[in-house]
């Protein structure tokens, strides 16, 4: 029975990973560049599960010398079932505003605590202003010490709505998470947005914002603030995170 449960769990783990890759929700959990590993592992689980049937006819080994390797207890099997239960019973969602409360947020102020934007990875220079995402803008902010350098530049970004006590009623942050490995290392980044109807936007709502930068004051610092020309509500993108 122990053996039967093992085979079932191995098969289900394979199916679980395969389904995540097929429906794209694997991108809620890990960086895109490791998805091929998840697919490979799905195949590996099926192969390993199959191997139990293919060796079943072989001679067995009398373990009368006092130990059993590979005997997993019921609690151990239950633990292996846990990712399957959590994966299938809890709706799969990318990290949202609630997860920011636990992390240092980077809005590109000069002297930010942990800069998520390593200068080596900067590839935003060749992009037209309208094509730059939030991460590209933070790279640019880093290369300049004067927020006025960006005043008037056109911006078009997509992100989710985040706000905390520092935001006045007409402001919110359009935020994204950056992920280098998996969501365990997710770091929030964002641009401060000014919009008269900001209060009408629920937290976590994904928005597509077009506008331009103006120098403004946020939490006692001079920063580029995105003034809205056009704002539309959108569905969360298939690829919710930005990759470093």
């Amino acid at each position: 029975m122990n053996r039967f449960l093992k085979i079932v769990l191995l098969l289900l783990l394979g199916v679980f990973l395969l389904l995540r890759v097929v429906d794209g929700t694997v991108l809620y959990y890990i960086n895109q560049r490791f998805v091929w590993l998840t697919g490979l592992a799905a195949g590996g689980f099926v192969l390993v599960a199959a191997s139990y049937f293919l060796v079943s006819g072989q001679q067995t080994h009398d373990h009368s010398h006092g130990h059993n390797h590979g005997d997993v207890t019921w609690a151990g099997l239950l633990l292996v079932a846990l990712p399957l239960l959590l994966g299938w019973l809890v709706p799969s969602r990318p990290l949202g505003a609630a997860a920011i409360g636990n992390r240092e947020i980077n809005i590109g102020q000069m002297g930010a605590l942990a800069s998520v934007a390593p200068p080596q990875a900067d590839n935003s220079m060749g992009l037209v202003a309208g094509e730059k995402n939030i991460l590209d803008w933070l790279h640019e902010f880093q290369s300049s010490s004067d927020p006025a350098d960006f005043a008037g530049q056109e911006v078009h970004v997509v992100g989710f709505v985040y706000r905390d006590g520092r935001f006045p009623a007409d402001s919110f942050m359009v935020a994204r998470f950056t992920v280098s490995c998996c969501v365990a290392d997710a770091a929030p980044i964002g641009l401060i947005v000014r919009w008269p109807d900001a209060a009408s936007l629920p937290t976590d709502q994904w928005v597509d914002v077009t506008g331009h930068f103006a120098v403004g004051d946020f939490d006692g610092q001079q920063v580029p603030i995105l003034v809205v020309d056009d704002l539309t509500l959108v569905q969360p993108p298939a690829q919710p995170y930005l990759y470093l």
Partner: protein, 346 residues
């Protein structure tokens, strides 16, 4: 191995009885867990709901990222079991303590595994009679000293003090730990199921041809996976819970002095529990705000010890040995990081 124990009877009546009770217990547990998770996911609101959702996402993130590596390590372990000859291994490993520990520290080039895959491989090599010190050095160094991680560190930092420092200090710390474990007897440090067992020899090198042996290796790998996966899952859950409950900003805001920064980056590496194949990219984002010594401590200590790997050690070693395996690299990495920082300041 389950493959072999499946049809046995007689001498292990007790095991058979407990196995009979195991299935109902498993099913009851499954129903209870299902109910609890379902209730938490659907019937809670506000901060509890948000925290649970965040916890689930981070837990599945760590699990999905790590599980291919654990599976690969388990399959390698099965292949070692079937295809590597015990006497050949004994001949190949140097006898003198220093040479043996150094061999262990550099064995990652032969078995390119990260910190999840290295555990089942080490366990299997112990089972094949690998000396304790060699295995310890291998376990600690292999997640860094292997071609894949060298390449990813190079991609993030280029040739320079960080890459060279990471390699040199990983080998050095693993070497020292290996030498120290040389003082202990294998039965003091290893779990009974891990130790080499002459009685198992008959089966371990059993006959068979071609595909049959390959399938046998896979089935043994499956058993190994099931054995180690529970530690990985328990570790991922603890890491996800820590991340959900303790704000990362509290950790990072503690300061960036030459000593405190090393401690903070080591704590971060321990809590994050991310794979050694990619941690260099994350470390890169701390370069501007943290000391060089602390970045190196993150890159050296993290692959050796973190929440999920220290839990996985429990599947191979006795508790006291696991404690040493955590404390030794911790003390040595701290020493290294602080020493580098004070050298740079001068």
């Amino acid at each position: 191995m389950d493959v072999e124990t499946a049809n046995q009877a007689g001498p292990e009546l007790e095991t058979a009885v407990s196995a009979k009770r195991a299935t109902p217990r498993f099913l009851i547990g499954l129903v209870v867990l299902t109910a609890v998770i379902f209730a938490l996911a659907r019937f809670t609101t506000g901060p509890i709901h948000d925290r649970f959702q965040t916890f689930t996402t981070i837990f599945l993130g760590i699990f999905i990222e790590a599980v291919p590596f654990l599976l690969a390590g388990s399959i390698v372990s099965g292949l070692i079991e079937i295809f590597i000859d015990r006497d050949w291994l004994a001949r190949w490993v140097p006898r003198r303590a220093a040479a043996a520990a150094l061999t262990g520290a550099l064995m990652g080039f032969a078995f390119p595994v990260c910190e999840c895959g290295v555990v089942p491989v080490t366990r299997r090599l112990y089972h094949k009679g690998l000396p304790l010190s060699v295995g310890v050095a291998f376990l600690l160094a292999a997640p860094v000293v292997n071609p894949i991680v060298i390449l990813s560190t190079y991609a993030a930092f280029g040739w320079g003090p960080v890459l060279i420092g990471r390699l040199v200090f990983s080998v050095l710390i693993a070497f020292i730990a290996g030498l120290l474990f040389n003082l202990a007897a294998p039965e003091e440090a290893l779990l009974p199921t891990t130790q080499a067992d002459e009685a198992c020899r008959v089966v371990d090198e059993r006959q068979g041809t071609g595909y049959g042996r390959f399938w046998q290796a896979l089935a043994i790998g499956g058993d190994d996976f099931m054995d180690m996966a529970r530690y990985l899952i328990a570790g991922s859950m603890m890491a996800a819970a820590m991340q959900t409950l303790i704000p990362q900003s509290t950790l990072l805001a503690l300061g960036s002095g030459p000593i405190i920064s090393v401690i903070i980056m080591m704590a971060l590496a321990f809590v994050l529990s991310i794979c050694s194949t990619v941690d260099a990219f994350l470390a890169l984002s701390f370069v501007n705000s943290f000391t060089t010594g602390s970045i190196l401590a993150f890159l050296v200590f993290g692959p050796m010890v973190d929440i999920k790997s220290s839990l996985m050690f429990l599947g191979v070693f006795r508790k006291r040995a696991v404690l040493y395996l955590i404390l030794l690299p911790m003390a040595l990495s701290l020493l290294m990081g602080v020493a580098i920082n004070s050298l740079i300041v001068q």
